[in-house]
């Protein structure tokens, strides 16, 4: 696989893509020309405006097919690859015991007006996600799930009261970038409460986040669609260990205890 590539329609290198959009103007040749212009500005050349349909008197919907001239350069693709080893529940429990010598406390919530709890529940509830059990199932994790539409002050209060090791926040609604706004507001309040590197690990997640945005958003880690509980548990172990400057997977002091693990 070369580092440079183009989209594939039916022949290597043909660069073919499909595009659809609406322009706020009446249907007609002018509108088709405008659609063509937009496609060209996007790098589609030649662009075939294969469908143009009026939506009422002042909008037109278009479908465009054509070859895009841009090259994808794989060497420049920046991906948040998993920066920690993926642990089984057994290993996580063991690592927590080694690391903290007590249970890890995780406080979760949907903040703002967001009431989509299915995602955070998938991570926290025993039921879990994609065949994996959620964090409640981990003997060494205490989960406090505050549910939906929790305000930032309430969340911080709970985190303090529970002496949380980690705060997990879900944001699903993205209209007008609600998820980004709410996350930034949370991060600001968090940093007023705890200095950088102190306080609980701050994690946000939701289907439309870009995992590369953690720094920009002021949180420790972002998880996007398809996240599983083990991803999160493993990350938390890793993050807490890093704060303490230790290797969480070093041989445990009480390895014989492994026998009685349910997981």
């Amino acid at each position: 696989m070369s580092a440079l590539m183009r989209p594939y329609g039916d022949t290597t290198g043909d660069g073919m893509v499909q595009l659809s959009f609406t322009l706020p103007m009446p249907h007609g040749k002018k509108a088709e020309g405008a659609a063509q212009q937009l496609a060209r500005k996007m790098g589609i050349e030649p662009a075939m405006v294969v469908h143009a349909k009026p939506i009422g008197p002042s909008f037109t919907f278009f479908v465009v097919y054509g070859s895009v001239s841009h090259l994808v350069d794989l060497d420049e693709v920046k991906v948040v690859e998993r920066e920690y080893p993926l642990l089984s529940p057994k290993e996580t429990n063991l690592a927590i015991r080694t690391l903290l010598r007590r249970r890890m406390v995780v406080v979760g919530a949907c903040i703002g007006t967001d009431a989509h709890t299915v995602g955070i529940d998938a991570i926290l509830n025993i039921k879990g996600f994609a065949g994996e059990k959620g964090l409640e199932y981990y003997r060494e994790i205490k989960v406090v799930n505050l549910g939906a539409q929790v305000s930032v002050p309430d969340l911080l209060a709970a985190a303090r009261a529970e002496q949380a090791d980690a705060v997990l926040v879900s944001q699903v609604v993205t209209q007008r970038e609600a998820h980004l706004r709410n996350t930034r507001e949370l991060a600001t309040a968090f940093r007023q409460e705890w200095a950088e590197g102190e306080g609980p690990v701050l994690v946000v997640g939701g289907p439309r986040f870009d995992e590369a945005m953690a720094g920009e958003l002021g949180v420790d880690r972002v998880f996007a669609k398809g996240t599983t509980p083990a991803d999160v548990a493993s990350y938390l172990v890793h993050a807490l260990a890093a704060r303490r400057g230790v290797d969480p997977t070093a041989p445990a002091p009480a390895a014989e205890e492994l026998q009685e693990e349910p997981a």
Binding site: S20, F21, T22, K53, I55, G56, F59, F61, G112, T113, D114, A115, V118, G147, A148, Q149, V173, T174, Q175, R176, A178
Partner: protein, 530 residues
Amino acid sequence: MTGTQHTQQTAHLLPLDPELVRRARALAAEVGAPIVDLARRHTTVSVERATLRLAGLTGADAEGSPWVNRLVDAVRGEVGLEHGVTLPVWDALVRGEAEDLATLAQKAAAGSVRFRLPEGSDAEPARRAARTALELGIGRIDARRREREALVGELGDPERTPWIYLIVATGDIYEDIPQAQAAAREGADIIAVIRSTGQSLLDYVPEGATREGYAGTYATQENFRLMRAALDETSRELGRYVRLTNYASGLCMPEIAALAGLERLDMMLNDSMYGILFRDINPVRTFVDQRFSRQVHARAGIIINTGEDNYLTTADAVEAAHTVTTSQLLNEFFAKEAGLEDWQLGLGHAFEIDPDVKDSFRLELAHALLARQLFPDAPLKWMPPTRHMTGDVFRGYLLDAFFNLAGMLTGQGILLVGMMTEGVVTPWLSDRDLALQNVRYVRDAAGGLVEDFRPPPDGFIARRAHQVLGESVELLERILRHEHGLLDSIADGTFGLMRRPADGGRGLDGVVEKADGYTNPAAELLEGDG
């Protein structure tokens, strides 16, 4: 829209045991009765505010706190709400503390008026004055209902069912309006303005025209008015009456119902348990608010839409199918008790089975037919796939087509049109246009298939429908076995796996047990009707 329309072709497709059906209804009544009793014994801040709204009190203070909130809070602070807000309020007016409600509210907010609970002969003038004010208010709702009836008479209803129901959700009433009009022109019979996230937890109704909702637009009286006026215009243009829907749900359910009646909305989302389960609103608060709001809807000629679809966004649509049926039976009981007629019962259900399940489409048909046959005279509201919609918009368009087909084959009354972008964004203008094209194709090309759709009496579909009905009866029996029936089952996670104890949840502090002398002329007028 009469029930006969939907059912003529699908009425006898399932060989349901009439004895089991009777039993299911009887059980629902048994489960519901104590809740009605509970609702009769309480009032809430929102019921009292709704009463003031019906009496004509509008507007808000400079911070946006509505005058109804300020006034109810003041009365509550001074004399409590056990006897209702109207006695102290009209007593104050009779006493000349202010020349009208609005002035009284302002003075109350400024602390420059004292309330008392008039007793003995002092009470009668207050009572009469309140009654007059509320007769006027209910009269306005009656007038709006007649207005609707006249418009429907003049412009006509859609020629066929299902009625096509489309949502707009821009967050900005001024973007919503042209989109709603465009949707109506393309064939929508009903426009629903989705509400901003979070409004359901506000214990007041915002004021004025709003442009800053998230994934929905605030429900306000002014927004209602603007949209209804726009759709009236479009209705005339199109020669058919386009209906408008909003949400009588959340902490302000009774007030929003009143505003809907006053602004001639035509349908309202209004479920007996949604707020409890999905918004963690206190169960008692919900049941009290719900009864009042349904009485308003009954009077206003508004069709309610119940929210059974929501169960299936968190629970599995096959495993939990019977919870939908159970909730429909309860919603029906509570609705009729509140005075709603069959044609006003837009009972909800949804096409939410995992499309990867073998025979998923036929399972959907079984569920949809069951609802159709259990409630033959209700305009069932059929909700599209949401949970299993992904970013693959082509697949989304396909699933929506089969949802549409199921709607046609099973004679649904109201079809909430699915959007291919359900898994991605709130609907775009073009999504609605494409979605309507999908509906039209399925209806015109394949709608007639009802003639050819004859599930055998011992076949897969009939067996499945029978099974779900049986499980629903069992569930109702299980609820009755709880000491406090429904309240206990809600507390122990019987519905949607959510545990909602009767003394928990939001808005409990807004619930007030009625004292002996409790008065509410609005409630009396509505009750009389019910």
